[in-house]
Symmetry: C2
């Protein structure tokens, strides 16, 4: 039985729209997922709904998300696989989780939502909300990028511009969430649910095998945990011999997971973040940090930090191989020397590219 429960106090949640534990304020998550079974894949569906057997939502409104390309590239004599999550409909991996979160909310009669995001998540939630007839209010920092705001408005989002610090918009959204359902990419268990499909895809795209290593940028941990959980299901059902080594990459100006990994603590401490061009992963206190650290520990993984200079250089390298990625995405390639030092030169490595660089040109 797939229940939603608190990861802190284990209490089962009875409110399908709860974004955190009603009892203790903890983070909610599914208690279990259906076992993987390759015969249950709908091979005639070329979106993430080919895995609908593992997605317990009652509606399946789609903008064409999922089944993103897995491209092969040789960079400086290193053969790599690139998972092009930026080719999702609104230009980021967020769509993979937004589609399950918003379909779930729509099936429960939701007509208004709030979300806080200055970037990819805001555009994603706005697009899927309007597609489902839900009015989205997106809280953004007043000083944020004009183009990202324009994209949110283009797809029907109502901008709620909040002055002050980066955190101010989150505080304002949470206040609004007292009366309006909170479509939070950071908190919703239905967001992480959809992210799981990325692992199933990579498995299919690798001729039904697991790559040795997965590398993702890390903010709150949605995509990272999607990979880890999807491959854990594949492993539990005997389809792969092991879960890939999971490696998280952060900016050296926003590195709570790296600090916890280096000190061997199981729960990241909140930090003070600084500015970085990897603006998609500026997160002081990752919502699912403990689960991320656990996945790193159990898979022999690691967490690495990279500088803006290395990110800039990696982004240019990607472009010279034909890939138009946003700076946050380029963190994975920027970390490649550290990754290779950790896993060796012969391991097969997938780098997740999370956001479309067309938003930055």
């Amino acid at each position: 039985m797939m229940e939603i429960q608190c990861i802190d106090c284990q209490q089962t949640s009875s409110d399908p729209l709860a974004w955190r534990c009603e009892a203790c304020g903890g983070v909610l998550d599914f208690s279990a997922y259906p076992p993987f079974d390759a015969d249950a894949i709908d091979a005639h569906d070329f979106s993430l709904w080919r895995y609908r057997a593992w997605l317990p939502v009652e509606q399946h409104v789609s903008l064409g998300e999922g089944l993103t390309p897995l491209a092969r590239v040789r960079i400086s004599d290193d053969d790599l696989l690139l998972k092009l999550e930026y080719l999702n409909p609104t230009g980021s991996y967020k769509d993979r989780g937004t589609v399950t979160m918003m379909n779930h909310m729509a099936s429960h009669g939701v007509t208004n939502v709030v979300e806080d995001s200055s970037g990819n998540a805001g555009a994603s939630v706005a697009a899927y909300s309007t597609a489902l007839g839900i009015h989205p209010r997106i809280y953004v920092p007043a000083h944020g990028s004009a183009r990202k705001k324009a994209l949110i408005e283009h797809v029907g989002g109502e901008l709620m511009e909040i002055g002050g610090t980066q955190e101010a918009k989150t505080i304002a959204a949470r206040q609004a969430a007292a009366t309006i359902p909170y479509a939070s990419h950071a908190y919703s268990p239905y967001f992480v649910l959809g992210q799981m499909t990325v692992a199933f895809e990579v498995w299919e795209q690798c001729q039904r095998t697991a790559p040795d290593v997965i590398v993702t940028p890390l903010g709150h941990g949605g995509l990272f945990l999607g990979f880890a959980r999807g491959f854990a299901l594949l492993h539990a059902a005997g389809y792969v011999e092991r879960v890939p080594t999971m490696i998280a990459v952060q900016s050296d100006h926003s590195d709570p997971i790296v600090r916890a990994y280096e000190t061997g603590t199981s729960d990241p401490a909140p930090i003070s973040t600084g500015q970085t061009i990897a603006d998609g992963i500026i997160v002081a206190d990752p919502v699912r940090g403990r689960a991320v650290l656990e996945a790193i520990a159990t898979t022999g993984g690691a967490a690495f930090r990279v500088s803006d200079a290395a990110i800039q250089s990696a982004r240019a390298t990607l472009a010279r191989h034909g890939y138009v990625a946003e700076p946050t995405s380029a963190t994975t390639l920027a970390a490649l020397p550290q990754v290779r030092a950790h896993v060796g030169t012969s391991a097969s490595v997938v780098l997740a590219l999370t956001g479309n660089g067309l938003k930055y040109i």
Copy 2:
């Protein structure tokens, strides 16, 4: 035998890099394509290379192009299918033809190319060229969009900015093409070749049936002919009962095909174009206009023109359903009332959305 021959004088081309007939200057095309056979699809490949059996090129370097989503949407009580060509790697349907054209050129030892385009084709040719180790010189109008130029440069294109009229860049590129291979999305038969895969995909995505109607924006006719030829192969092999009704949409400021369709002539006359927000299809003299008109005639199709106001409105409608398309793409939805008047309300209709709106936000 797949030979390349002139559509005017029928002479077979012996130069694999020729962009037009050496004898008469006419347009080159393949004389025939391999018969379609569903068993020859590589179902384990989730890019357009699953159809490699129909793509006679010796290299298969890929950026993850093809197998774009076919999304279902209801707009004003009309159920439509949207082929999201804008989710190709560089943000447009062009990648589908560029990948076959550039792999062909690379396999013949090409190290430098020229191309003329101010927009999607320039970015696409630049990206695939650099990915293949080919140096691309892209001729653009000096007064063109700064963002499009920045994208071309980002992926390694050398910008050749030409003053004067829109045609001046084409003239300059052709002069350069006297000594440097011309990677022309308008002329290369290898470009149209790759476009054919879009039909195979739609057929697979419609559970191996053909939709009743295909609607595309029309510039030189690459995507339109890709659909028509792909479905003609499916029909010849008995996989579909008929080729879909093929409908071309142009701007009312650039409508040579519509004029020829309305007057019943088999070859479009060159026109004087005006400015339109559908900047991807400003073409005075479509290179494959005769073939386009023939496909319209043999499928009971049509050609319609739409105004900038209708395009603007259709683009906003797409956005309010979650789809971020460039203005040129929105021409197909803008033409929907004319399409429905022509094919009736019950026909299944695919609208091709060709360019990513993220380039315009």
